[in-house]
């Protein structure tokens, strides 16, 4: 037993060491997929509960009541609610004014709420930076502050009165900017997406000037159904918003970013599988020989499977670890700053579920891409496995016929692909997925990422976050695609060395041969790109319903061209290097 274990370990370690580059590439490919998954799950976790967390931490109300009326009339309308049957707690009514706020040259409408330092039964906004309100100071909701790019210590101007920003705070009584969804009567400067700020209640009258004050009352009910049976309603001139409605609105802030990550991790997983399959396909000849050899000295099927699985298990586990760490470290960058709610990722170790999911994914990718060739090798005749040759390349009659009528480079390209149709498909999948991702990103970039607030436009944290998520996915996607392109080019060059050398003895110039290799990769890349552009646009439209701007055709065209150029350039370099070798060398090195 000890002997066999030693053997498995020895063969594994030696093989990994011998194929260092491949091992690193495999690690990278699988890590990329697990990293994205971890990130997606981490964000899901962090973004799923922050409203609930904030609600618990700030004693959030069940229902918020706001009369359409103002002044004493509003107070009169709210008075009976606090003592209504079923109400167990209340806070307020707090005065509110809809005023214009100017910060660093931008003037936008804002909702100013008057608060003081006395403890409230419900809705005690949690200070996330700086301090709570005091006369002359203003506290801003962090998402809003971020969009305004104001910081603690800055001075903002409300209705002509300068105020110092003393802190940022979050509340569960309103959805965060720009999701607050204020419902207001005609004639008010307020828009539904205005941000929330707090000032000392002694000051609000002076800030409002001649404008009438509105009021808000926070309520808690004994019966949970009193707040979960509706999200928003208007009764007797009073707007009621339940906490479930607020939670929903908050969720929308990150819904698209989550979707982008989800779709992105699917794309990435697909690409990672293609990548691993690509790398593994490159070593299949060698692997078959190894298996034949082990069989000849008496290794049974179980032993052979163990030798190979051990290798991929180790790579898979290492990749799971790398991906988990990377994903977890990247997560906070996507949620902060200014998440608008309490709780951020990266503060706790990854959940067990996340670790499991990432590990399972890594092992599944490793197994999916490697099991098939291993099984094939195990079940083939030992003699065939030992024959040192991969399956003889298939010839596709019509393509060979077609190629007789073409310029030399194209001819070489078509013939190379006719020899290895599977690799051509991989090139297509690679460019298809990359172009899909890039086209979707362009669609995202074509949208106006700002919210219209009165006369001005402000950054929309929702779009910002979605774009950040898309960027992240695309960067990883491009890295993987690059790995894929390099691997497939190198194996194609190695594999085509002999026919290319023959072509050269027949008089093809190195330039023609290089161009031929590039053509071989470009041919399948063209349909990939052509399908990828509409696929990316479609994906974006499906994922974000509503009025969407189309990216200019010139952008799409540029992306398609850039992908094709990248493929051509990536191929030309190794092909050129290969054609530098004397013909005789190339013929020699493949003859055994």
């Amino acid at each position: 037993m000890a002997g066999r274990l030693l053997l498995v370990c020895r063969l594994m370690v030696r093989d990994l060491r011998r194929r260092r580059t491949e091992t690193v590439l495999l690690l990278l490919a699988i890590s990329a997929a697990t990293g994205t998954l971890t990130l997606g799950l981490a964000l899901n976790n962090a973004l799923a509960q922050p409203y609930e967390r904030t609600r618990a931490a700030t004693a959030g109300p069940d229902v918020v009541a706001m009369p359409g009326a103002t002044g004493p009339e509003a107070l009169a309308a709210l008075a009976p609610l606090a003592t209504a049957p079923g109400v167990t707690a209340h806070s307020g009514p707090y005065p509110m004014a809809y005023l214009m706020l100017t910060a660093s040259g931008t003037t936008v409408p804002a909702v100013v709420q008057g608060r003081d330092n006395s403890p409230a039964a419900l809705d005690r906004p949690a200070v996330t930076a700086g301090t709570w309100v005091h006369p002359g100071g203003i506290v801003i909701e962090p998402t809003f502050a971020n969009a305004l790019s104001v910081h603690i210590g800055d001075t903002v101007d409300i209705n002509g009165h300068p105020l110092r920003v003393v802190g940022t705070a979050v509340t569960a009584a309103r959805a965060v900017y720009p999701r607050a969804d204020w419902r207001i009567d005609a004639g008010s400067p307020l828009t539904e997406s205005a941000g929330l700020v707090w000032v000392d209640s002694s000051q609000i009258g002076a800030l409002a000037g001649t404008r009438p004050l509105s009021y808000t009352l926070n309520l808690r009910y004994a019966d949970p159904r009193a707040s979960t049976s509706f999200t928003h309603k208007r009764e007797g001139g009073i707007e009621y918003t339940s906490w479930t409605g607020i939670a929903d609105a908050d969720g929308k802030l990150v819904k698209q970013a989550r979707l982008a990550l989800l779709v992105g991790s699917w794309l990435l997983t697909a690409l990672a599988v293609a990548s691993v399959a690509n790398i593994v396909a490159g070593r299949v000849v060698d692997q078959r020989r190894r298996v034949g050899l082990l069989k000849a000295v008496g290794a049974g099927p179980a032993m052979i499977a163990a030798v190979h699985l051990a290798e991929y298990l180790v790579i898979g586990l290492a990749a799971a670890g790398t991906g988990l760490t990377a994903g977890w470290l990247a997560a906070p960058a996507l949620t902060s700053p200014g998440a608008g709610l309490l709780g951020s990722t990266g503060t706790h170790p990854p959940a067990l579920r996340t670790v499991l999911a990432a590990t399972v994914l890594a092992l599944a990718i490793a197994a999916a891409a490697t099991l098939a060739p291993v099984l094939r090798a195990v079940t083939t005749d030992t003699v065939h496995a030992l024959a040192d040759a991969a399956t003889p390349p298939r010839r596709r009659g019509w393509r060979v016929w077609l190629s007789r009528r073409m310029p030399t480079a194209l001819l070489i390209g078509v013939r190379i692909n006719a020899r290895r149709p599977r690799r051509a498909r991989l090139v297509m999948v690679n460019t298809l997925i990359t172009t899909t991702g890039l086209a979707a990103l362009l669609m995202g970039l074509a949208q106006d990422p700002r919210v219209k607030l009165g006369e001005s436009k402000l950054a929309n944290p929702q779009s910002t976050r979605t774009l950040e998520a898309m960027f992240l996915v695309i960067v990883v996607l491009c890295v993987l695609a690059l790995i894929n392109a390099i691997v497939s080019t190198w194996t194609a060059v190695l594999d085509a060395r002999h026919p290319l050398a023959v072509a050269r003895t027949l008089g093809a110039t190195p330039a023609q041969v290089t161009a031929g290799m590039a053509v071989a990769q470009l041919l399948p890349a063209i349909p990939g790109v052509a399908l990828g552009v509409p696929a990316g646009i479609g994906l974006y439209l499906v994922a974000s319903p509503g009025d969407q701007q189309y990216a200019p055709a010139s952008w799409m065209f540029a992306v398609a061209l850039a992908v094709l150029l990248a493929v051509a350039a990536l191929t030309a370099i190794p092909a050129l290097a290969a054609t530098r070798r004397p013909v005789a060398d190339a013929l020699q090195s493949t003859s055994t």
């Binding site: 000890a2 002997g3 066999r4 030696r14 190894r290 050899l293 069989k295 008496g298 099927p301 055994t592």
Partner: protein, 245 residues
């Protein structure tokens, strides 16, 4: 099995392809190899020598016929049972050596012993002993890439012997070697014959045939001639024999 034959084939055929492309690589062959015999199989390229050897070693299954090794009928065995048989009772030597490139000479030799479940220490001792026997004690820790062709083949022979196999099957063991290296291998085979090792060698090389107890000529998948030599003094081959020693 009856008699003293260690390795026995009865009516063994191996065909490839169908119809007009049908190839009878091995055609209804009967063969008995007694224990301790050194048998050389000769014949032109493509006559089916390798195929026959692969059939005898269970690397390939016959289309028809029965093959027995000692008490075991091997043509109907499962892959697992065949693997066990190979690791305990059969040693292979190939024309292109088939050493594992990433393992050192001694690690290659102990491969079969480790597979057979021997303890690492015993396997290593035996492997070093065998390497010493083939004259490569000082090359034990070299990778195959650092060895000459003849040295590689000697490592492969040591590997084939590591589990004291009932029979060693060699397919053109000197096919890739120059004449000096060929002489080394011949010397080893001569030693094996003296030690009573059952040995089946497929070869082009008349010098190997000269050290054999028996030479079979093959043509188009069948035996054309089967001559038992009583020793190395037979006239005609004797000069060749004397020539290489």
């Amino acid at each position: 099995m009856t008699g003293s034959a260690l390795l026995k084939a009865r009516g063994v055929s191996r065909r490839y392809g169908w119809g007009s492309a049908l190839v009878r690589a091995v055609d209804e062959i009967d063969l008995e190899v007694p224990a301790g015999q050194t048998l050389a199989i000769m014949g032109p390229s493509g006559c089916g020598k390798s195929t026959l050897l692969h059939l005898l070693g269970g690397l390939q299954r016959p289309t028809d016929g029965e093959i027995w090794l000692a008490e075991h009928r091997i043509d109907t065995m499962s892959e697992r049972a065949l693997a066990r048989l190979r690791r305990h009772h059969i040693g292979f030597v190939f024309q292109s050596f088939h050493l594992m490139d990433e393992l050192t000479a001694v690690e290659n030799v102990e491969l079969a012993a480790l597979l057979a479940g021997q303890s690492p220490r015993r396997a290593r001792q035996r492997a070093l002993h065998l390497l010493d026997r083939v004259g490569l004690a000082d090359r034990a820790r070299h990778l195959p890439s650092a060895l000459s062709g003849g040295q590689r083949q000697r490592v492969a022979i040591a590997r084939a012997l590591s589990n004291e196999p009932l029979v060693v099957l060699a397919d053109e063991p000197t096919g890739n070697l120059d004449s000096a290296a060929t002489l080394e291998v011949l010397r080893l085979f001569e030693e094996l014959r003296t030690a009573g090792q059952t040995l089946v060698v497929v070869t082009h090389d008349a010098r190997i045939a000269a050290v054999a107890d028996r030479v079979i000529s093959m043509r188009d998948g069948s035996f054309a001639d089967d001559s038992r030599l009583t020793g190395t003094t037979t006239s005609g081959t004797g000069t060749v024999y004397g020539g290489w020693r």
